[in-house]
Symmetry: C2
Subunit: 633 residues, 2 copies
């Protein structure tokens, strides 16, 4: 499978169109103000000799500017914007002015640590910033045709080639990013040397070159074992998955089987031991790291927004590499839950940490802070969300030798050249993720027979499809495949029955013992305090034998399908002033019936501070009495 | 209540005598070697001008030497030792040589950062090291009569008085310790200025003077609110409880009610939201801090050994301040579990982190590393355990105006001058903590009537006592009180029935949901892999309706009472390769009956790496089916 052109998919309506509109109209302007407030732009001005201020912020401040530029580029690719054009052009001017005569750009090392370039690969983030510059440059070219930033990035790349590579300096970065950027630069320019340099950086990992720091082990830098020997995802979660993303990009261009084998092992390790239900990754606050298998606390979950984005980037490339629907499943789960939760509905507030439970306290390093901030001291997440939202369309469909594959469902127009003849042009209409019916109308088609493949999400066990009213063959290996000489007026109707469902977790996970979660379609649900004024979220139990009902509520949280169930509010008064007590000495806990109202996880924390939980204890009489797996809703 | 003399209680046999013998014969010699290996002694030699090596280790290296000296002093107080005498004298020589002409001693600031004294109160640990020097000096005086180290410490204290105090420099230390040390110096010397300086340091807390650091908030330094306004224990757990310990010491000398009120509030916050069943404190790895209420993960527990020791020191002083048995209860719980677990049975391996569950992986920052290390880069815990073990006898008894109170039970001889007439001399015989019967024989007594008070541990609901065969009045407010004109030959028999019991935890604690713990007497039990060769500890459930039986096993772990129960090993094969699944779709989990063998928590990790858990899921049919509190064993 290969990607479609950047403009091949247009999101026309629904949840993602709304999120993209907010991204464009609120998040990008807000983000640009924050880049000014936090000093990112001023740092570049100092580097350009236009300011005499002092450098502010951590070493990787430039990267936030580049990610903002990348998001702006994709948004301009969706539709012109005079403000985005003029603002990004002025910013590119600034980047150009900050570039040294040798091609190097990095405001921190130019301003704050002159003469110290390339002295701290573990923490310096120089190659990380370079990577984001290259990605932004490629985005400008692809989305707008403007290659001014690409010229700047290529000069920087030339500098890197002069410095690093076989026969020159050995290096590998503490924070991966350059790898995927160089592969993209190779794809954009056709210059093989960029792919080779990406491979070079990968080859020098896992040989202890970065060395353990005072607070970091080799594992935390993904420098413990060589790439092809890796069996686990470990250490800093964002770094780990940026690395696997870059490695998958290299695989996509080289086809080296040993690399894909290692990447498949690592992905298996992720999804069988280190993945939150939301798609969130990186459970540990300490070192922002993956924990050991089953180490997935809810309130103490780290789940950095950038980790979820990294996971989407990686699984997308694994999907391209293998065509296996499970990778599309994880892209979907992660986008709808762990990524969307990173930003407020208004687009101007951001979570860095995305816990699966919160006691409603706003503290950041806590059992789930519940207030998104307007920006962060380390502000990697906000502009990362911006570029992710702007590119949702890129994840919708792919093509291969025999046809077109649709992986994500949204109201969209898709145009893909499957040759010969006219480009395949489809209009997808759906209320997804709120309803599971998808109507795909063919507006134009190639002249020969082509296969349209529709991903059947792993959560759906009863998918059916009809072509012009006639049932198709059942799905196989995660896809409904329809080969046909398509014609204008053909209509495919896909039905993905979307009932609310209860999910349980591996008994090895301490935090979910005795609990279930509510899901519906691709969405993970949660209980939030705002919907339960008469009980504390901490005291709620669910009756897993009571029915779950879903209904659309247009006035809540910009429109969501809520799921209603029944449970109990447990009286914890007998526990007042004590943490532990002998079993059997106290009277049974009193409890009262109460209605439960679950909202999509992504929408929590948009109504002021309050408690939240994804995993809900099973109330007695609701299945908790039986061995795991023995209870049916 | 006031303390007895340092030599008033001699532990003669049993668990604590064994631990003290190991402390003396193995831990102290091992520790001294480690102080040489790690560089602590060499740092002092450099400061003394006897070495040209480079400073090694963190800034507080001197404090480990002082804690070792303190432990050595108490051990010499218990019994002479030529090796301890000559070794500690040589070490005191070294400390003396490292002291500046102005009285200042600190090898780090003398060697590594000359000219930088008192420039970093938040992190510099100068007052912390000074405090440990003073405490060691007081210990030498009290235990051995030797006041050479006290002279050194007093010169340092003079220097501190010249620098800090009303009208001089304002300061408060990032890591408390100086406060309790100065109060002890006041007690030892009678010089009021030492108490005043301790109060001065306390007064300047909570006023933001330390300032938030890059990674630390004011709360993490206990500098958020003034002492008397404190309502919670927060931030770095060891610092927090060293501070409350010092503040309680100040209260004990000043009697200021507002201070005790605040300390009582903080203690209440500790025991109702932030205390592990083992007595461990400080749940968070990140910043070594107290979490929010109910944030008590098992495998991710931090529970630094020093935190448990700090908790013992604090509750001991709260007991002195109030005479309330609940403080003696927590001293007991913490000593027998969270403190003892810090050292190996052999005395030469140490935990820094004391988790309540481990998956058997040896990784340190993990779901419970399971290998004690011979020493640590930050080696505060090992010598802290040494001084704690050496002083167990100090926690056994107190006296007040009307008599003697016994708080901890162990085979011991107690001599306390309760005047008039001969000193009260008691011989306590017991197999505690393995059995609950305690026989106290009066060998000598004062000439007037005195009250002997025996703490009835909170875990015991059926305590009885007899004097010369005749039942006493029942306990009241946690003590059995016996007033009597005691005579040689009187015998008190205390019976604290000690059946294994099941304990459950507050439903707000995520990590213990659906679980119970086994306790017996003061001991918390755990399941360890070594006793369960046929099942994975992670897969075990307990049948809470099956009987628990205890039996002494002399050949295991230097002799322990094990508790045997029944439960199941759950077949988790259906979960292979998946973390989440729909409720009700899978068949009931297969499981097989299996015997459970629990060992005292303190003794875990002495038989090689292996999994461990304190909290055990209730198996179905074993009470999990009923509302909390509804199941009886």
């Amino acid at each position: 499978m290969t990607t479609l052109d950047a403009q091949a998919v247009t999101i026309e309506n629904g949840l993602w169109a709304r999120r993209q509109a907010v991204n464009r109209d609120a998040a990008l302007p807000h983000g640009f103000r924050m880049l000014e407030t936090a000093g990112n732009l001023e740092n570049l001005r100092i580097a350009a000799g236009r300011s005499s201020a002092r450098y502010r912020g951590p070493v990787f401040m430039d990267s936030d500017v580049y990610k903002w530029l990348e998001a702006a580029a994709w948004e301009m690719g969706r539709a012109p914007s005079e403000w985005l054009r003029s603002t990004s052009e002025a910013t590119i001017d600034l980047v150009a002015a900050a570039q040294g005569v040798d091609g190097y750009i990095n405001s921190y090392y130019t301003v704050a640590e002159p003469g110290k370039r390339w002295t701290d690969f573990a923490h310096g983030h120089e190659l990380y910033c370079a990577g984001h510059l290259i990605q932004a440059a490629v985005a400008f070219r692809r989305a707008t045709g403007d290659d001014r930033l690409l010229t700047i990035a290529q000069r920087f790349a030339d500098y890197l080639h002069a410095l690093f590579g076989p026969g020159r300096r050995v290096a590998t970065p503490g924070h991966p990013e350059i790898e995927m950027a160089l592969v993209e630069l190779y794809r954009e320019t056709g210059e093989r040397r960029h792919l080779d340099l990406a491979s070079f950086f990968l080859e020098h990992r896992g040989r202890g070159w970065l060395g353990p720091g005072r607070y970091n082990s080799s594992a935390s830098f993904q420098d413990r074992v060589p790439m092809r020997d890796a069996t686990t995802v470990e250490g800093h979660a964002v770094r780990a998955l940026y690395l696997t993303t870059g490695a998958t990009d290299v695989y996509l261009e080289t086809g080296e089987a040993a690399l894909l084998t290692a990447l498949n092992r690592q992905w298996h390790d992720l999804v069988t031991g280190k993945l939150y239900l939301t798609g969130g990754v990186g459970g540990r606050h300490l070192s922002e790291a993956f924990g050991q298998p089953y180490e997935l606390p809810n309130d103490l979950a780290y789940c950095e927004t950038c980790g979820a984005i990294a996971s989407v980037m990686w699984s997308w490339r694994m999907l391209l590499a293998t065509g296996e629907s499970r990778f599309g499943d994880l892209v979907e789960r992660t986008l709808y839950n762990a990524v969307l939760s990173g930003a407020s509905l208004g687009g101007d507030r951001y979570f860095y940490v995305n816990p699966l439970a919160s006691n409603g306290e706003p503290e950041h390093l806590s059992r789930g802070g519940c207030i998104r901030k307007e920006w962060h001291l380390v502000a990697c997440c906000p502009p990362n969300v911006m570029r992710q939202l702007a590119t949702f369309g890129h994840y919708v469909a792919t093509r291969d030798a025999v046809g077109l594959q649709i992986h994500q469902y949204a109201p969209a127009r898709i145009v893909a050249d499957l040759g010969p003849g006219p480009a395949m042009t489809l209009r997808m209409e759906t209320a997804y993720p709120w309803e599971g019916r998808v109507r795909i109308a063919v507006e134009q088609a190639p002249t020969t027979s082509r296969t349209l493949s529709l991903r059947v999400p792993g959560w759906c066990t009863a998918a059916t499809a009809r072509v012009n009213g006639k049932p198709t063959a059942p799905p196989s290996k995660g896809y409904l495949r329809i080969e046909r000489a398509w014609q204008h007026g053909d209509v495919v109707e896909l039905d993905l029955p979307m009932e609310p469902r209860l999910t349980e977790a591996h008994p090895g996970i301490e935090s979910t013992r005795g609990c279930v979660a509510i899901e519906r379609g691709p969405l993970v649900y949660c209980l939030e305090q705002a919907d339960h004024p008469d009980a504390s979220i901490a005291d709620l139990e669910i009756d897993t034998e009571a029915p779950l009902e879903s209904s659309w509520v247009s006035g809540r949280l910009e429109g969501v399908t809520v799921v209603r169930g029944s449970g109990w509010a447990v009286d914890t008064a007998p526990w007042k002033d004590r943490l532990y007590r002998p079993v059997g000495r106290a009277a049974p806990a009193a409890r009262r019936r109460t209605a439960l109202t679950a909202i999509p996880y992504y929408a929590w924390a948009n109504r002021g501070p309050g408690a939240m939980r994804v995993w809900i204890p099973r109330g007695a009489g609701g299945g908790a009495s039986r061995p795991s797996g023995d209870s049916a809703p």
